[in-house]
Amino acid sequence: MCNDTGIQLIKDTWQKSTGVRMMRAAGRPKPEADAFNAAVPAETPDLAYYYDGTWEGWLCCVYESYTAKEIPGMIAVETEQGISVETSLFYAKRIVTRTDLAERVRKGIDDKIGKPFLHILERIFCSCISQKEEQMLLFARKGFRYGMQILNLRQDKVVNNVLKGLRDLGREIDKWYGFVRFSDVRGILVAVIGAKNNVLPFIASHFCDRFHNEHFMIYDQNHKMALVYKPGKCCVIPMEDFVISEISDEERKYRVLWKNYYAAIEINPRHNEVCRRTHMPKRYWDFLTEMTEQGDCISNYKGIK
């Protein structure tokens, strides 16, 4: 039932891109699966880029990679807390984030490859594929060389990897559409989630549309970010910590009702744990009212009118 938005995106991209491709493909080499590796400059595996972890920062890495004609073996995030991964074996290069360069690269991708490609990169940037930055860089380089048709070349490892990441992200977004559980705290809806990919920017529009008259907040405890909304205004902000402390009687009442509904709707002779786990993996359970006890289980139920 759930449509995979990632795949959908690619499909759309394909449809939109065909026209573009026709015009641009003329000057570009036709990709053959094996011609790929020869197409990029030799990697410099002992080189590492440090950047600040922002989207603009990554765009500057792309810029650097092109101007210096090199492909770093690693791109690491450097913040005040230190460097994200162990890089002592590498010869490091700090990439300074400059908005003008970032804008230039962004525009370059938009013009030379196409907007859908840019969107894909933006999405991938929020995903959790391993060695995200390096993979993205390789992917972008291929994009510059071959244009939009690169998306059809699943034969290629990098492309396949990126598209897979995109699909995973799409799937997780779909899951969180359903699995966010709000609690009413003095009229404000609050929810805590723990996402693998950074899904908040993508689920924002859905929730802002659906609950456009409410005040709400969704806190992602893995990324330490929160989506905060009040009518007409929505933003994603960093937030160190958050727990739902107080639960009113009213709130407890609906939790109990929901748990009981959940229990009642199962057809017991058809219990199927495997099926439930595949659709609703255990890592989501902590955030689902019906799957946690949290002291308001059915036995604690009192005084519901």
């Binding site: 549309d209 009981n260 099926c275 659709h279």
Partner: protein, 517 residues
């Protein structure tokens, strides 16, 4: 009785209903106080039986004045009864929705006093939600056979999907098991709904009043009268529609006559924008799969259903007109029927192609497409680089996604077996039916055991190993073996159980690992 108690009873009574989807309708939330609808459908949770929980699925009441034999709520059954007041249910929906527990409401009911009385209560719930609360979430409402046309129309205007259960696959069974319902009472609202939806789509007046004229009328007439013997004659249904025309369609007053507080904006009012669906019980009556599929096809073509749902009969009551209480619910059959249903809807198959008089039942161990392919060796093998989209879709193991990928990939370069694998086409089954650049799959094993193993999913294999094996008559595979020039003497004993243990499976998989030059 408090809300919790009611919720327990009424959710429990509604749980056998199979239809719980919220897909097929995209609507922005901006016109409403709260709520939107997404066309891909959102699952909010999964119950212990693995089914998606998307809507708050409850009965308004389980007090019933009908006596359908297969149902727990029938009046002759001893059961705890409860009823929501419309306000309680509307509040519950609203609060659940606010906490993102659900996607909307699925409202069904037993027949309380009379079909019309119950429908008025249901309408009341919808009115509170839609008019008073300005609720924009998804609402699916189930129409009770025998409800008057005006009420059906009002319900349909407020709901997103509306459905009438066809209950059982033939009118004979219906008479036997559900004496208060009749084919006519079920099909009349169905026709009315289809008709309203069509009218709506064509923008002929938002809620009706307009009689079908000229071509449109002829089309409906033609569609309804051609063919399917299970379905209602068209004349009757049109009569029903005419009485409905009499009512003033703009009289959108609430049931107790008061003026509505905030009527919807006109543009929001569409008749059941997510279409109509229906459901039937499988396994309580003797109809075979062929009859069921033909009925399904008829419902899709002539009533333009969005979905037909099947629900495996779970024996809840003892009665000599029903299978005994010990019978297991025919889950596999239900699964197969859904597969076949899928083929009807998305793969361009027809019911008569899938099953004919010689094969009136779906195969228990092979999925319907596989079974079809084995009976049509003349169609295969298919050349990957030349086959049309439709031809590719008919290859077992290739779904729409794979077919798309093939089409895309072969624009750039001819596909060979290696390429086919790289683009993510699963070849376990498909390799037996495909050619790549004129070549068949390298080192393809034509051993019958290996072949059968490839055709079955692990679950089917387990099922197969458990049950008797007499179903596999050699003749079934004769066509195919003859074509592959192998195992011509189909008389040798078929699959042996040990062939299914893990070690052998692995061994078989090794045999078919492709070696590329």
């Amino acid at each position: 009785m408090d809300v919790l108690e009611k919720l327990k009873i009424l959710a429990d009574a509604a749980k056998y209903d199979a239809a719980c989807t919220s897909s097929g309708l995209e609507r922005k939330g901006s016109g409403f106080a709260m709520g939107s609808s997404r066309d891909f459908g959102i699952c909010h949770s999964f119950a212990g039986d693995g089914r998606c929980i998307s809507l708050l699925k409850v009965l308004l009441t389980n007090c019933c004045s009908f006596d359908c034999v297969y149902c727990v709520n029938r009046y002759s059954n001893q059961a705890k009864r409860a009823a929501f007041t419309p306000r309680e249910l509307a509040d519950l929906t609203w609060q659940f929705y606010r906490r993102n527990y659900i996607e909307g409401l699925f409202l069904s009911s037993a027949v309380w006093k009379s079909p019309d009385y119950t429908s008025e209560q249901m309408l009341k719930v919808l009115e509170i939600l839609r008019y008073e609360y300005q609720f924009g979430g998804y609402i699916h409402v189930k129409v009770i056979p025998g409800t008057s046309a005006l009420l059906v129309e009002k319900l349909g205007t407020l709901a997103d999907r509306i459905s009438v259960n066809i209950e059982l696959p033939s009118s004979g069974s219906l008479e036997k098991l559900a004496p208060d319902k009749s084919k006519e009472k079920i099909l009349l609202p169905m026709k009315q709904i289809q008709y309203k939806i069509q009218e709506n789509r064509q923008g002929r007046g938002r809620f009706g009043g307009i009689q079908p004229v000229g071509k449109q009328a002829a089309k409906i007439q033609g569609a309804a009268s051609s063919g399917n013997r299970y379905l209602l004659e068209d004349k009757e249904s049109l009569n029903g529609l005419r009485c409905m025309e009499m009512a003033d369609p703009y009289a959108l007053k609430s049931v107790d006559g008061g003026q509505l507080q905030k009527p919807w904006k006109k543009g929001q009012m569409r008749f059941a924008p997510a279409g109509q669906s229906t459901q039937m019980i499988i396994g309580a009556t003797p109809e075979n799969d062929r009859q069921i599929l033909r009925l399904t096809e008829g419902l899709y073509h002539q009533y333009q259903m969005k979905r037909v749902f099947y629900s495996a009969y779970i024996p809840v009551v003892e009665d000599n007109r029903l299978p005994s209480r010990e019978t297991l619910p025919p889950l596999w059959r239900e699964h197969r029927l859904y597969q076949a249903d899928w083929l009807l809807r998305f793969y361009g198959f027809t019911a008569s192609e899938l099953l004919d008089e010689k094969n009136p039942q779906l195969h228990p161990y092979l999925d319907p497409k596989c079974h079809w392919a084995l009976r049509h060796p003349d169609v295969f093998p298919v050349e990957v680089n030349r086959a049309s989209f439709d031809e590719l879709l008919r290859v077992p193991g290739i779904g729409t996604e794979s077919a798309y990928r093939i089409l895309r990939a072969r624009k750039l370069a001819l596909l060979d077996w290696d390429g086919l694998k790289n683009i993510g086409v699963v070849l376990k089954r498909a390799r037996y039916f495909l050619l790549c650049k004129g070549r068949s799959y390298p080192f393809l094993s034509h051993d019958k055991n290996a072949f059968l193993l490839a055709m079955m999913s692990p679950k089917e294999r387990a099922l197969f190993a458990r049950q008797e094996r007499k179903w596999f008559q050699p003749s079934l595979f004769d066509n195919f073996s003859a074509e592959t020039d192998c195992n011509k003497e189909g008389a040798e004993p078929m699959l042996t159980v040990p062939a299914l243990d893990d070690a052998q499976k692995e061994a078989l998989e090794c045999v078919t690992i492709p070696v590329f030059s």
